[in-house]
């Protein structure tokens, strides 16, 4: 199995899906000739031409809304938001329209659109190129939200998103793009949306997280292992709707739970994870549920001193895991 980067997994999934199904097309800002500002759509314009790789005007509500219309018609649009931070003008289209198309029409119309957006920090992107925005959408029945952590998951889940009959938000961690590499099979495969994945089996403490933080947790777990602390790591992968069963199992297994996100703490999706645990397996817990998250300030500043203070990293995770293990 070849080793590819997280962003290459994005590109491969797009390309293969466009080859497989004529109805799949890409639209967004700079996705064409430029191949995307991160180069996620590199080569697609050359391969599929400007009618299927559409450089749009700078207007996110239209990018989402046109994608939604095309999806209602029966196409399989993959809309790119250049940065997750810039999805905000499209919130009305996503929440009022995409999420509710099937329900409001009593199953008459559907909206199989995929909306991709790079999120997350640690790239000197400052307040508006570093945000985690998933919590804005993680309360909207009708939507699915995927946030993968590995190239393997990226490829399988993006393909699943494109083939899904409902709207999927697909958030890619921009720092993971080139940082995270992994084995990805050449044969076609998909990963079911809605299923969390145990990324490390362990017996002492449970870490539940998603996105780039999975890698941080895995790094920290290796360190802890040398001290005989055995961490169990659950990667949510789909953060809405959550895989409740997997969460309950993972929490019950060790009785000590650390919930981890790069997002601001209050109102982040790990609050919901805590609620699921405390509703379903409270008496299996041996320690209070611990949360490690970004501070409750708007987003990470630009200057390196301040960015570092905000941004999650393996050391912060390791520290929190140790504390929990020692509880």
């Amino acid at each position: 199995m070849p080793v590819i980067s997280y962003i290459q997994a994005v590109t491969q999934a797009l390309q293969e899906e466009m080859e497989r199904d004529e109805k799949v097309f890409v639209l967004g800002e700079d996705v064409g000739v430029r191949g995307g500002v991160f180069r996620a759509t590199e080569g697609l314009y050359e391969k599929f031409g400007e009618s299927r790789v559409i450089d749009t005007p700078l207007a996110e509500s239209a990018i989402a809304g046109v994608g939604i219309g095309a999806a209602m018609y029966g196409m399989r649009p993959v809309a790119e938001m250049q940065f997750a931070d810039f999805i905000m003008p499209a919130v009305n289209q996503i929440i009022s329209e995409a999420a509710k198309t099937r329900y409001r029409s009593n199953n008459d119309w559907t909206c199989p659109v995929t909306i991709r957006a790079p999120y997350g920090g640690g790239v000197h992107g400052a307040l508006y190129h570093s945000q985690s925005v998933e919590a804005v959408f993680a309360n909207q029945p009708g939507l699915k939200i995927v946030m993968p952590s590995t190239p393997y998951d990226v490829k399988g889940l993006l393909k699943a998103a494109i083939r899904d009959e409902d709207p999927v938000l697909f958030f890619e961690h921009k720092r993971a793009y080139r940082l995270i590499k992994g084995n990805v099979p050449e044969a076609d495969y998909t990963i079911p949306i809605g299923e969390a994945d145990v990324k490390r089996e362990g017996a002492d403490i449970t870490v539940i997280t998603y996105g780039l933080c999975v890698d941080f947790a895995l790094q920290a777990a290796e360190k802890l292992a040398t001290d005989g602390i055995d961490a169990h790591i659950l990667d949510l992968r789909t953060i809405y709707p959550l895989d409740q069963q997997a969460i309950i199992e993972a929490a019950s297994k060790t009785g000590k739970v650390l919930l981890l996100t790069e997002d601001n703490k209050e109102g982040s999706i790990i609050g919901e994870v805590a609620a699921i645990i405390s509703e379903n397996c409270l008496f299996d817990l041996d320690a209070p549920i611990k949360r490690l998250a970004g501070p409750d300030v708007p987003s990470m500043p630009y200057a390196p001193t301040m960015e570092k203070e905000f941004m999650m990293n393996p050391e912060k995770v390791e520290h929190a895991m140790r504390e929990l293990a020692e509880f």
């Binding site: 239209a62 989402a64 939604i68 219309g69 209602m72 196409m75 289209q93 409001r104 009593n106 409902d166």
Partner: protein, 339 residues
Amino acid sequence: MVNTDEQKKMMENRHHRLGLSDNDILEMYRTMLLARKIDERMWLLNRAGKIPFVVSCQGQEGAQVGASFALDTKRDYVLPYYRDLGVVLAFGMTTKDLMLQGFAKAEDPNSGGRQMPGHFGQKKNRIVTGSSPVTTQVPHAVGIALGFKMEQKDLVSFVTLGEGSSNQGDFHEGANFASVQKLPVIFMVQNNQYAISVPLTKQVACEKISDRAIGYGMPGVTVDGNDPLEVYQAVKEAADRARRGEGPSLIETVSYRLTPHSSDDDDRSYRERGEVDAAKEKDAVLTFAHYLREHNILTEQVEKTMHDEMNQIINEATEYAEQAAYAEPASIYNYVYGE
């Protein structure tokens, strides 16, 4: 009542010049009248406490039906807004469907009683499901037209909205996108002079809504929304253009909202009765009937039969819908996602 100019216009055989037969315009009138009658019945039902909500087409039937007849109602796609009773009737929704919607019954094809009246959608007739937040349908219409272009289909995507709604960002973004991509979309703004209580002068400072077209590089025209033939002609030209691959058009139809905004509104607080009464004289349902009578198309006999038939249809539909069942409470859990 009608001045000489209008009288002349009335007497000319305008519909033949547009390629419309006598029967065509009789059908147009029939659709307008049916829309009006259904709407009136809805108000009666509302005032009788039988249905909780109505939002009206009254005053806009001429524009809605004139436009629809210029389209291919068997193939084109429409994205109507909440007043477009005339459009959805022309595109195949039945009186029974509409009554089922009014009563919010399980059989309502629009939403099975999930949405309020006026939130149209019926896939088999290519009436695209709509929501309440205004103007979101505009980018959808563009996306559908993009689908046509990609599949090289010779179809038109027709979307309507109120003039107030043309101030939403989605109008701007959608219109611009369509024009850059030269997509087969018709944007029709039904200017009825009010956005709820806000008069036109507080909504926009331009002279005509169609003045916005040049900013998107597309043709824009303003027509008399009380004249179904003028609307027909404008939409026909736009549809031909669209099918020829020449891109979108913007059409503004000017008329007046004859009812309060909805059954929840009381318009006496913000507009004079005299203004409403004056507008009623231009009501397309009256003036178009007059045109048809002048041309001996709407004879007394035809008119009587038409009214009788319609009353019966509406009565039957009302009765059926009133008797029909509501959706089961447990059905609310269905169709959040594909199953």
